[in-house]
Symmetry: C2
Subunit: 406 residues, 2 copies
């Protein structure tokens, strides 16, 4: 049977205290009164995970990933038990399950495992007994019954995966913000909540630093066409629905402006232009687990080219060292690093059909006398690297021009 099943996920802040857990229980109760069979996925309470990580670090600078997963998965287990207890206290029957108990099978990649499949038998049978089913997010087991965790944002992925296997179309993601905004409202007070956004825009926003949802859960939702309703557990207002582009009613040329300040730029100048150098460089960075975001190669004079790219600030020292070493072979004139940069971006599916967004963007920035150091574009996004001192100014001007004045 596929009754009216709804999957809800509550994040760490939403279950951060026993008071909050009671509020969540009341919300779930209301949902059952409206005739829904509810499957709930919860994260660890508030800062639990951080506390556990700190304990492990007191014991080892490089703790085993298997044991970290054993350790961290307890956080969600505490939450599911407490939420079940809170639901019982409101008179609602409920049962909690660990990842192991619902056979949330993953690969054996500890700390960043991928879901392989989920058994729905136990969930369905509990739903048929009119129980609310509470599942520990973030965790699974590998084929040897070892506990695994799904990496950052893993509970979102658990929820979406459950929605997929249960054949429901809707998954509510309760968090501490009330939806996806056109920009970070802490920085841009005119930022507006979006009612709808497409999977691809959401992925692009996530990549560019607007981190309401983690990419993997959005990819999962996209693959299974599950509508994600991102909303606040602190209010009854509707949030933002992440959905297939073709089903969207509202479509903006630009739906979001993001700003990212946690990256640094590295430039290797005047490399003799011969094939294979880029491959060597980025393979070397990749094999050191250094994540490269933007890459620009500019051809200069005398068949020499410069390569610029951005990496996370925390990887900068290692990156510079590696590039200096590689450059002995490449023969470039210098390796330069710049930390005080920002990446400002405009994202929107409308770009697919509207020309001129890039030109307008560059115009807005130059109108503020802001120099653009790197440019990169994707199908639905344009990003510019600028000096970090102009970051907020740039974001505000772009938001005004692309969103407020439309």
């Amino acid at each position: 049977m596929t009754q009216n099943i709804i999957v809800q996920k509550y994040g760490g802040t939403s279950v951060g205290t026993t008071e909050r857990i009671k509020a969540v229980a009341e919300r779930i109760k209301d949902c059952t009164k409206n005739g829904f069979s509810v499957v709930v996925v919860v994260s660890a309470m508030g800062k639990t995970t951080d506390v556990l990580v700190d304990l492990a670090k007191e014991l080892s600078s490089n703790p085993s990933k298997r044991e970290m997963d054993m350790l961290l998965s307890t956080g969600e287990q505490v939450s599911i038990a407490l939420l079940a207890i809170a639901l019982h206290d409101t008179g609602i029957d409920a049962v909690s399950y660990t990842g192991s108990q619902i056979r949330m099978m993953t690969d054996g990649n500890f700390s960043n495992a991928k879901i392989a499949n989920i058994s729905t038998d136990r969930i369905i049978s509990s739903l048929n007994e009119n129980k609310v089913v509470i599942v520990a997010g973030f965790q699974g087991i590998d084929e040897d019954d070892n506990i695994t965790t799904l990496g950052r944002g893993g509970s979102d992925t658990s929820a979406v995966a459950l929605a997929a296997v249960l054949g429901t179309r809707d998954c509510e993601i309760y968090t501490d913000v009330d939806g996806v905004y056109t920009a970070d409202p802490r920085m841009i007070s005119a930022a507006k909540k979006l009612n709808e956004i497409s999977y691809d825009e959401m992925l692009e926003l996530a990549r560019l630093g607007a981190g309401v949802l983690h990419s993997r859960s959005v990819e999962f939702a996209k693959n299974f066409k599950i509508r994600l309703h991102v909303r606040s557990s602190f209010s009854l207002e509707n949030g933002t629905i992440v959905m297939p582009m073709e089903e969207m009613v509202e479509k903006y040329v630009v739906s979001g402006i993001t700003m990212k300040q946690d990256e640094a730029k590295v430039t290797i100048r005047d490399i003799p232009d011969k094939p294979g150098i880029s491959a060597k460089l980025f393979n070397a960075l990749g094999s050191c687990n250094i994540y490269v975001n933007m890459i620009v190669q500019s051809t200069g004079h005398d068949n020499r080219a410069s390569i610029s790219f951005t990496v996370k600030k925390e990887d900068l020292a290692k990156t510079k060292e590696l590039c200096t070493e590689l450059n002995k072979d490449f023969g470039g004139s210098s390796v330069e690093a710049k930390e005080n940069i920002a990446i400002v971006s405009a994202v929107g599916v409308g770009m697919l059909s509207h020309y001129g967004v890039a030109g307008k963007m560059f115009g807005v920035l130059s109108g503020q006398n802001i120099n653009i150091e790197m440019i990169s574009t994707s199908e639905i996004g344009i990003s510019c690297v600028i000096d970090s001192m102009y970051a907020e100014l740039a974001a505000k001007a772009l938001h005004k021009s692309f969103i407020e004045e439309i």
Copy 2:
């Protein structure tokens, strides 16, 4: 293969901080250097369980036992992961397992489950890979894969059960005291550590309030003839070995003096002496989950008898109420309760072959002008109820006479 396997159990205080966990790891490391294959059972860190219980109580006055087991079992899971991480950091290979992962099968009696069987496959295979195996104490799973817990002292029972199925004869129980004493050293400074004690004495001591080990683990050890070495994780000194009586080298007539002040006495006076009244009374108490310890019935005049018994102080109000109600039917003259009592006891296997212990005990008490309100005897123990104001005086006098002056 049965190599030199040793099972060690570390209690909550022994793993109460990361510093303590490191010390435990060093101790285990030494043990492996001596050629042992080590299986370790750990409890939850320090006050973790209390903190979790408090969270649950904030949500419900009567939380579901299944969900409490789900909740509390996380405490041990945290400990096993941290201990594994600490062992790795000392260069020792180790792997942690939950109760579920080693198929520690129990009945479905949540919060007080009994172990049915344990699979040794995974443990043996990890030992054969030269890994220290770390098992979460206190927890198991029922046949539906629900997490269960074993009740108070459950980790001791987990350790003894593992020793039994692994066919080892020795199980070390590391705790925050350095062994079993002839009396509580906080009260009687002359109390001596025992090198050996029999299972039955240990059980009698546990019943009478000397709670180093919980009864069920001792019963388990007795059934499987496993020697329990109760010792401190804070020192390298030998502790006390709990062992079969017939293997003991040291045998004392009296090996321990205990004193218990958490019980209260109830007396129903002058009940007409007719059959079935005692049965009715104690069945009624039992069905209200009131645990009765000592019972004395005295025949008085006119075919009337008085019944006195002791119950836990926390059950006194309920007990008195129940007895007053029952007495309407029994026809006794009054129901009296006395809270300020103490039970002093002498325990020793030597009593089996030595007469006169009871006489000597009564003599010691009367020598101090202490009135005995109730007496009860078992094969290896004699207990007297006295006024609590004399409790310490009585215990000291008995210890002096039965232990120090031998």
